[in-house]
Symmetry: none
Subunit: 216 residues, 2 copies
Amino acid sequence: MSEVAATGISVLLVDDHPIVRQGYRRVLESQGDLHVVAEADNAADAYSAFKTHDPDVIVMDISMPGASGLEAIRNIRARSPRARILVFTMHNEAVLVKAAFNAGASGFVTKSSEPSAVVNAIRSVARGERAMSDDIAHILAEDSLSSGSALDQLGEREIEILRQFAGGATTEQIATQLNLSVKTVQNYHYLIKSKTGARTDAQLVRLAATCGLTRI
Amino acid sequence: MSEVAATGISVLLVDDHPIVRQGYRRVLESQGDLHVVAEADNAADAYSAFKTHDPDVIVMDISMPGASGLEAIRNIRARSPRARILVFTMHNEAVLVKAAFNAGASGFVTKSSEPSAVVNAIRSVARGERAMSDDIAHILAEDSLSSGSALDQLGEREIEILRQFAGGATTEQIATQLNLSVKTVQNYHYLIKSKTGARTDAQLVRLAATCGLTRI
DNA sequence: TGCAGCTCGGGCAAATTTCCCAACCCGGAT
DNA sequence: ATCCGGGTTGGGAAATTTGCCCGAGCTGCA
């Protein structure tokens, strides 16, 4: 960590949108102490880039095609427990935030945050601290008071599948993307409906939307 | 428009994520001929900024909280038909694309596109041309077999059934309510899907919501 | 060690979707 | 007046999905 203070903070950017990555890179590098040493647009590349470049912080959008972002966090942390991962996404649902921290993330910042908040979060994570943006803190605070939105009873996989479904994905698309059999996705679909009490796909979509799982 | 050629292309950036806006701004301004003259993070600010700065192109993410992005496009175009709006979003569903063009957008580019494709789209739109990224063109091409516009092509009965369905009603409830056989409602369901190009019930709900047919 | 809970899928009857089709009525064009 | 097109209403049959049951592997926890 001494060389961190001497040379600044090295960052690995993970996001599936190239222009978004390029934008982040410019914003971060204008700070002086932040250096983007590599980029990746999927979970597998992220891990190999991590091994190659050994960055101080991984800034990762968890809504990527292919493997779940949470899965990616778990994989990286399982192999390299010293990895510092800052989740940087537009999603702000309490269940997702908690799942991310449980998976091993060191920080969670929404894209609604001011750039200064983002770079400060990167610096905090690089120091080994836990970091989150103000809106996330508020959401977690409210969540700890009120017990139980409809989503709290859902597991991580169920939430991921619900989000993709509500986003308009077909059963086969979800199965392919998550590497599951169609039957399993169908079963999750049914399980989610019975857990939440939704009788109709439309009700499921509305539920997901009101819980902030998807935007319309 | 003569001053456009002399001074480059002025751009109004609309996106609800500040750091995303800042990233785009840097990417665009590194091009030399593109100048971001204003930013906005919601529909209302977007219109006032448009009136104040009179930009050549509005680059807009339509997935914003609050008012629908499509609504924003319609509002701006209704008041200022010469406005050029380039939709720039991560969504790539055919129904959304068609709805955006119907609302008056001049272009549609996904965030998966290369930065060069995005800036070229901005230049095309500034010249008054229609622009879209390759993936969008493919999606529209596949869809164009049974194409049409989003909701305008639906009859009264179809719209009524779509509204009730998107509101969460079951097929039997709709049939009872409208004094139709279940079979007829099922047929309408299928007909609406094929007319709008929606492949999923969830996409139907999203379409109904973005068109103001139902509130979530 | 054992229990509880999540994940993942098979099986199978019931229901729905997907597409075809035929009518009816009605307004407009010929 | 006649025909055509389109909205509306439903039948039929194959394909698919749903609803609900089941078991198996795994993990964390008591």
